[in-house]
């Protein structure tokens, strides 16, 4: 709960058009900025955050330190990409902006997103670092985007010059499958040197999967408590209804009890996590289920609680075994890989595919140890077909609450 004024320096240079961080470096950066602003304002209501851009026509302060989250999010829209990043000037302007903060009791912190190459000399950066240290300003550096030896060396030197008692940090984020924000959540930049921030970080991780600004349902409970309450209540009701429906479906097929439970628990999870990733997950799992009983059930439940990022990798591992010449299987593979980005619209595709008996039986035939003529398998298929219709109806109803988010 440190009282802090933070200035975030954004890199909006030409190098940010690159797509090696999904969907683009600039977008990943914007998401990370939103998350950081939310984290800072939640950890202490009197914290203020400001934003400036380092490239474009020149260093420009978009928002002076304020605790109004809406203002910060609004100014992130309509940002133009272009020009070259000027790291030294950016940090110096940030320092000046912090110097003129309204509440002098706040600690000063600068967070820099260093995406493009650093053209300044190491000496210049070290001098800047020492000046920051002298004025007790902490600095967090996020090294992503362009990767080269000199850049890392310079940024490490800058950190060494600024660092006073471990209040400053540097994070190197290489390009990869996981999002920039997800990587940052576990770093001390978010957890705030381990004091009470970790609770928020966990909440942010869960909320980030479902919301935009880090709040439940995308609505600030402080700004509009009634709306937040109404959304929460409707979510609970929907969940209760789904559980009742799932129980009913489970009763229909006695042997498929466990399968039904799995699907309902996965459907519960779809309410709070990215819908498509988990449903396809659970549906694939229910096919594999025929092979191992409890182990897979545990796995699927654990995975539906996990972040979609890790879900991706595990799914890939499973799928790699089932990769056959079967064209329908390849199509399913493609669909499930795309699931992670699409919304619940693809739910319907998946359920339609699975409702297609021939498709399913061809998959089952290709799996070892599964006999399509086995009565238990037949029952499962029947229950899934019954499920797919109420599921479609539920998906319709899921959509309005989902879109409200």
């Amino acid at each position: 709960m440190v009282l802090e004024a933070t200035m975030i320096c954004i890199d909006n240079s030409e190098w940010m058009r690159n797509g090696d961080y999904a969907p683009s470096r600039f977008q990943a950066q914007a998401d990370a900025v939103n998350l950081i602003c939310g984290a800072k304002t939640q950890s202490n209501p009197e914290n203020t955050v400001g934003v400036l851009t380092m490239a474009g026509k020149g260093v420009r302060v978009l928002v002076t330190p304020t605790s109004d989250l809406g203002k910060i999010l609004a100014c992130m829209h309509g940002l133009q990409i272009g020009g070259e990043m000027n790291l030294a000037a950016g940090i110096q302007v940030a320092q000046l902006a912090l110097k003129h903060r309204q509440n002098k009791k706040q600690q000063q912190r600068i967070i820099v997103f260093a995406g493009s190459a650093v053209k300044h000399e190491k000496k210049t950066l070290e001098m800047i670092g020492r000046k920051l240290k002298k004025n007790s300003v902490a600095l967090d550096i996020i090294d992503f985007g362009e990767e080269d030896e000199a850049k890392s060396e310079k940024l490490e030197a800058l950190l060494a010059a600024v660092n006073n008692n471990d209040t400053s940090h540097i994070v190197h984020v290489p390009a990869g499958p996981s999002a920039l924000s997800d990587v940052l959540i576990s770093t001390p930049i978010f957890t705030g040197d381990g004091e009470g921030g970790s609770g928020f970080a966990a909440a942010a991780a869960a909320a980030a999967a479902g919301g935009v600004s880090g709040f439940d349902f995308g609505v600030d409970p402080n700004l509009d408590p009634e709306l937040a309450l109404a959304l929460r209540v409707s979510m609970e009701e929907e969940r209760a209804r789904q559980e009742a429906a799932a129980k009913k479906a489970a009763e229909d097929s006695s042997k498929q009890e466990k399968g039904g439970e799995e699907q309902s628990s996965s459907q519960d999870a779809t309410m709070t996590e990215r819908a498509s990733a988990v449903t396809s997950e659970a549906e694939n799992k229910s096919i594999d289920f025929m092979d191992d009983d409890n182990a897979l059930l545990q796995q699927a439940l654990a995975m539906s609680m996990d972040e979609p990022a890790s879900g991706h990798e595990m799914r890939d591992a499973d799928m790699s075994e089932a990769v056959v010449d079967d064209p329908e299987l390849a199509l399913a593979l493609q669909l499930s890989v795309q699931e992670g980005e699409k919304d619940s619209a693809s739910d319907k595709d998946m359920s339609k595919l699975l409702a297609d008996q021939s498709f399913v039986s061809s998959i089952l035939a290709s799996l070892p140890g599964v006999d399509p003529n086995d009565p238990s398998v037949r029952d499962l298929l029947a229950s899934m077909q019954n499920q797919s219709e109420p599921e479609q109806k539920k998906n319709e109803e899921n959509k309005p609450p989902n879109e409200e988010k």
């Binding site: 002098k104 002298k134 004025n135 006073n164």
Partner: protein
């Protein structure tokens, strides 16, 4: 206890003169460019302890002898004189500039602003020298900021002890201590004893 002053100490007790340290708001003392965060608090102690450096001392960062110390008091004080004990080998501060009742001064402010008083210091390892203030200007001091721009040639500036001589008044500057913020007024919080009529209620 030997006072090392050039007067006989039987008449008065030196330590009581230098007792303004008791009125310093220690938790709120801060310094800029200190090597060890929080070490600034160790330089405010009793007169007898001024040469005792077991509690630590204040040192500036390597290669940069500038120091800026912000000292708030728990009540308004009048400061008559200041005593500084510096470090050996040229690490004593050579100049001192004071600013009164201003919060949040940083180095660029300190270098630009006109100080309320400036002194040229000498090396004072025994702590026997005191620097007089223009007393009329130091009458209602709620906080004092001391800026030491340079040392006697050393790489860093070391300060072992800072002492203040003067009087403490019991007055405090206006500080609004408890503020209650209301989003919407709650009439029950604002009921006044209606005298006679019922017209003095808040809608």
């Amino acid at each position: 206890m030997a006072c090392l002053h050039d007067h006989s100490c039987e008449d008065h007790d030196c330590s009581s003169d230098w007792s303004l340290y008791k009125h310093i708001d220690l938790p709120k003392v801060s310094a800029l460019n200190e090597a060890v965060p929080g070490s600034v608090k160790s330089v405010f102690k009793a007169w007898e302890e001024r040469l005792n450096s077991s509690g630590g001392h204040l040192e500036s960062n390597e290669g940069d002898p500038e120091l800026l110390i912000f000292i708030p008091f728990t009540s308004d004080v009048k400061i008559k004189s200041i005593s500084i004990v510096g470090g050996v080998d040229g690490t004593s501060p050579s100049k001192m500039r004071a600013f009164i009742n201003r919060e949040g001064i940083d180095f660029s402010d300190a270098q630009g602003m006109q100080a309320i008083q400036e002194w040229d210091l000498v090396e004072n390892f025994q702590g026997v020298l005191e620097y007089q203030t223009r007393y009329s200007k130091f009458q209602n001091v709620a906080s004092i900021t001391l800026h030491f721009p340079d040392s006697f040639g050393g790489d860093t500036t070391k300060i072992e002890y800072i002492g203040f001589k003067g009087e403490a008044t019991q007055l405090k500057r206006d500080v609004v201590a408890t503020i209650v913020y209301e989003l919407r007024p709650n009439p029950s919080d604002h009921k006044t004893k209606a005298e006679g009529g019922g017209l003095s209620h808040v809608e």
